[in-house]
Structures are given as structure tokens and as C-alpha cells.
Amino acid sequence: MHVVEAVDLTKVYHNRYIALNALDLKVDKGMVYGLVGPNGAGKSTIFRIMLGLQRPTAGEARVFGEPMTPQRADLRRRIGFLPTNPALPRDMTPISYLQFVGKLLGMDRGEVMIRLTTLLQAVDLTSVGSQRIDELSTGMVTRLGIAAALMNDPELLIFDEPTSGLDPAGRRQTIELIRELSGSDRTIIIATHILSDVERVCTDIGIITDGRVIHHGPMAEMRRLVRQRTLSIEVEGNLRHFEQQLPELDTFGAIRFERIGSEFRISFLGAEPIPTYVQRVLDLVDRTGVELLHLNTGAHEIEEAFLRRLEEDRATSFVRASAWTTAQKLALPPANNGATVEVISEAIPTPDGIDVVDVDVDPDAEGAGQSAPDGDGDTEAEASDGGVLHSGSP
């Protein structure tokens, strides 16, 4: 049983705006799951549906194995939620608000008082405990929101942009707090667009864009994948000449680079090992006569991986839509339900030169809706429940 599970979750607002697009998501017990995506990707909408604050247009959201609806207060009792910039009752004080939350959760008075004093201390709000909420800073309100989310020590914590509005010290404190909360059997889901936060605390990561999860898997795997394939170098001298020579680093010119001032972030798309590339970079530095200031493999790794997945997703969106339509046409009739259909198609070229090589349709496949790098830097197209969920370079 997954702690959180979304199957084909779709949310369309007023028949105009698609917030979630047949999204699949699974979060298991004990995970610290980072949901990363640009603004408007659908992160908050997922949470609102998971909490029963909104109803899905189609698909299903399950929490602790049961469908979540607005009436499932029993399920919400097991969830602690911190919204982005939480809107808390302005006329209350931190103490009265936590008492109020404790009563809503059915805690007895003694338990509430013990818990709230501990939590106010933990989030460093003891000194302002009797001040009105509208007199608190944004960071203090966020910290109070965290305390409220932890009031009954829930099994599942959902933090939507927990470091939003916090100063560096508050941010660090929050990250440390989340780190402390992880472990044991507690599951934590954090939505953010601050990738360094995810890197610090998460065990798993899901990348969401345009209402779909386009990648998810263990954090370590993603980190390893990117570290192997990227390199950051800062040089001084004839940068133009150096830049022109960069494609020669790979035998087939399979590199992608980005220049930011005197820094080059190079992604190697070829299959050769990274030490070979590093040696070639050093040779290139010698050959072009530039001065090496800084060389690092794996710098900006998570950002790099995130952006790469977004690019790949954009490049293959049309192919994915076509494949989904094909798979829908091949959808199993009731008599064949449970069987596996494999569609082997011709390689379909995409604008980015990325080919989709095969499409597997397996409605009963374990881990349906998941995609993961295969370890050698390549990715393969996968489809399940009628949709290609992941595709990448051959």
C-alpha cells in the first residue's frame, strides 16, 4: 500500500485551465519525497486534492490506501499540511491558534498544552506566543504553520514550499527540522522549486511540469546520473576560441553546453566515460591557451538534471501525445483485460533528435506510471496505462 497514490489524476478548472493532466504519483512509507517543478506546474493542486480541499475532474487520489474526499476528516487527522505562505486567522495568537488546531484534532487539553509549548520552542516562536498573528513576519507565520502541521505528530507531512518567505537562517532551520522529522515511519512530501532544498533532505524526487510527473525515482540515482554526465569549467582568455572548440570534446560532437559569463556548463551526451572527457577538456585548455580558473564535475547537478528532463519532456510532447492516442486505440477490450500488449514502432524522430524506440503497454505492470534512468545515461520510452511517460535519448 502506498501512503499517497494518484492514478490518472486530472484537474481542469472551469473547462479552461488544465492544472493536472492524467498525473500518476506514488509515494511510499518512510520516503522524503521532493516534488519539484516550475511555478504553475500543478504541485499545490495535487496537495489540495490529496487533502480533499478540491475534487479531481477525473482520476483518483488515494491516501493511506483510501480515496480522499472532503468528508474524510479521519484521513486528514493523519496528515500534517503546511500550505505556501499559510493564511492563518489573523486575530489569533500562536498559542490560541495551536490550541484551536489541537481541539480540531480531538486532542485533550493537557496534551495540547504540552505539545504546543514543545512546538513553539522547536520553531523558535516562544517569545511571540501571545502576539497576534497579523503582527508576525512572513517567516514566523510559516514557522507557526509548520508547528500546526506537527501538532498531532502525523504519519504524513505535506509541505508546500516550506522555505518560502524565510530568511537564510529560517530556511536552514526549516530544512534541519524536516531532516529531523524524516526517518522512522513518517512520510514527508515537499513541493518546492528550490532544488538545493530537495537535494539536502529528500530521498526521492519527482519532477512535475504542465500537470504531469515526467520523472521520478531515488534522489541518489538522479544525482549519480547527472554527476557522471556534467562538468562545469571556468576559464579566462580567448573564450570565443575555447567555445568554438567545445564540440570537439566528443568524437561525434554529442555535447550540450551553456555559457554563463566565463563559466561553461557542459553536458556530455556520448557514451564515453567522464575521465576521458575531463582529460579532453584539459587538453583543450592547453591547446586554446585559456587559463583554467575552476573545474568541477557535478556542479549544479540537480538543476542540470531538472532542466534536462524539462527539455526532454518538451521535445517529446508531440510524440507522447501520438503514442498515447495509439495506445488508447489499442486499449485492451474487456475480454483481453490483463494481457500485455507490446507495440514496437519505428523510431520517430523528434525536433531534438531524440527518438522514441518502443512503446510497451502493460496495464497491470508493477510500477506503472514510473520511469527511471537505466543507469547508463540512456533513457527508454515507457508507457503504461496507455501513456508514454518517459522518453529520452537513445
Binding site: Q71, A73, P83, P89, R90, K103, L105
Partner: protein, 239 residues
């Protein structure tokens, strides 16, 4: 139920700390006290004094205050309800019923705690006492039912409109134009204006019981319809 009672208590605290509500109480009580003194000194009919108080003070002030406080019951908390209440272990039903309960309790308590002593004092001290106990009781109940309807209707509107100002204006306007519309439809007896206009006879005990019962049933039904609609809408809307 723990959550329901917590929410009722919280809403009662909010209402009691509202300056609008406090002002309403003062503005209802002061003229009532003045009219008791007048009735004791001047040769005014008790039924006319009571009816004039309802028509000139109680009804218009309560129409505004109840429309505002009921119209903002849910929409007034639109910004905080999802983040700080309904994301906790609270059902939509518990929340909306708590709002309905607390608002009805507060409005009815204030109304009855002013109008009953006022009616008693008028009955006791007025020089020309033409009221009957059953008539006064009937009038108090009729006006109370109108307020229950206004409260229910305002809360229903506050579940429909996210903007509390729209909800308040809609509640005020609906009552304001309902008299004309009902007259046009040949249902003038259903309008609040007609009920209030007929209060002198009601206080004297001259209004037939059947007519009073008809008004009572209609406004009770309308109140129930408004409550059911409000609950239905709120339980289905996205927050």
C-alpha cells in the same frame, strides 16, 4: 463532533468580538428603552408602539447587520478556511453547520433578549395597553422567523460567492426587491413588508392564526431550502 463544537465556539468568539454586533445591540436597546418611557407617559397604543419599533428600528437595522454578518460567514474566511481549518480533521459539514448554528444562536439570542423584555415592559407600563399575550407572542415569532430566513439566506449566499461583498450586497438587494416581486406575483402576504405592516393587528391578536401559520410555514420552508442549498454548495465547491 469535537471539531464541530470547537468551530461553533470559535465563531461565537469572533461574533462577540465584532463591533458591528455590539453596535447593533446598543442601537436596538437604546430606542427600546426610550419607547418604554414614552409609552408610560404618552397615550400611545401599545400595539402601535411595538409595531413602530419593529418597523422603524428593529427590522431595518437587523436587515443590514444580519445581511452583513451572515453574508460574510463563509466568504469572509475564504482566505483562511482551507489553510487553517479544512486541511485539518474537519469535514465540510461540520464547518458549515457550525457557522449556521453560531450565527442563528447569536442573532436569535440578541433579538429575543431585546424584544421580549421590551414587549413585557410595554405591556406592563403602557397607558393604553391593547395587546394580547398570544398576539405579542405571535408577532415575536413571525419576526423571528423572518430573521432566521435572512440568516439562512445570507449564509447560503456566502457559500456561493467567494467575494464577501457580493454576498452581502446580494442578500441586501434580494430582501429589498422581494416585496415588489412578490406583489407582482400576487404573493404580497409572503413579503417581509406585508408581515411587518400587519404587526399592529398581530400584536392585538386580530390576525387569524391560519394567516400566521401560513407565514410561519413558508418562511421556515424557505429557511430550510436556503440552508440545504448552502450546505450542498459548500460541500461540493473547490477551496
Amino acid at each position: 463532533m469535537e471539531a464541530y463544537f470547537t468551530l461553533v465556539r470559535r465563531d461565537l468568539e469572533q461574533l462577540i468580538s465584532s463591533w458591528l454586533l455590539r453596535g447593533w445591540v446598543v442601537l436596538l436597546a437604546a430606542p427600546a428603552a426610550f419607547l418604554v418611557v414614552v409609552a408610560a407617559r404618552e397615550d400611545e397604543l401599545a400595539s402601535e408602539t411595538l409595531a413602530a419599533y419593529v418597523a422603524a428600528v428593529l427590522a431595518p437595522l437587523s436587515w443590514i447587520v444580519i445581511s452583513v454578518l451572515a453574508g460574510t460567514a463563509v466568504s469572509g474566511e475564504a482566505g483562511t478556511v482551507a489553510d487553517s481549518i479544512l486541511s485539518k480533521s474537519v469535514t465540510r459539514s461540520e464547518y458549515i453547520w457550525a457557522k449556521i448554528t453560531s450565527r442563528l444562536v447569536v442573532f436569535m439570542t440578541i433579538y429575543l433578549s431585546i424584544v421580549i423584555p421590551f414587549a413585557y415592559l410595554i405591556d406592563r407600563y403602557a397607558i393604553s395597553n391593547d395587546t394580547s399575550i398570544s398576539g405579542v407572542a405571535g408577532g415575536v415569532v413571525l419576526v423571528g422567523v423572518l430573521f432566521v430566513f435572512l440568516t439562512s439566506f445570507g449564509i447560503a449566499l456566502s457559500t456561493v460567492f467567494r467575494n464577501s461583498q457580493f454576498a452581502v450586497v446580494a442578500a441586501l438587494l434580494t430582501v429589498a426587491v422581494s416585496g415588489a416581486v412578490l406583489q407582482f406575483l400576487g404573493l404580497k402576504w409572503m413579503s417581509t413588508t406585508a408581515v411587518i405592516g400587519g404587526l399592529p393587528e398581530t400584536f392585538r391578536g386580530d390576525t387569524p392564526f391560519a394567516d400566521q401559520l401560513r407565514v410561519l410555514i413558508v418562511f421556515t420552508a424557505l429557511s430550510l431550502a436556503a440552508i440545504v442549498s448552502g450546505v450542498w454548495v459548500f460541500e461540493r465547491r473547490d477551496l
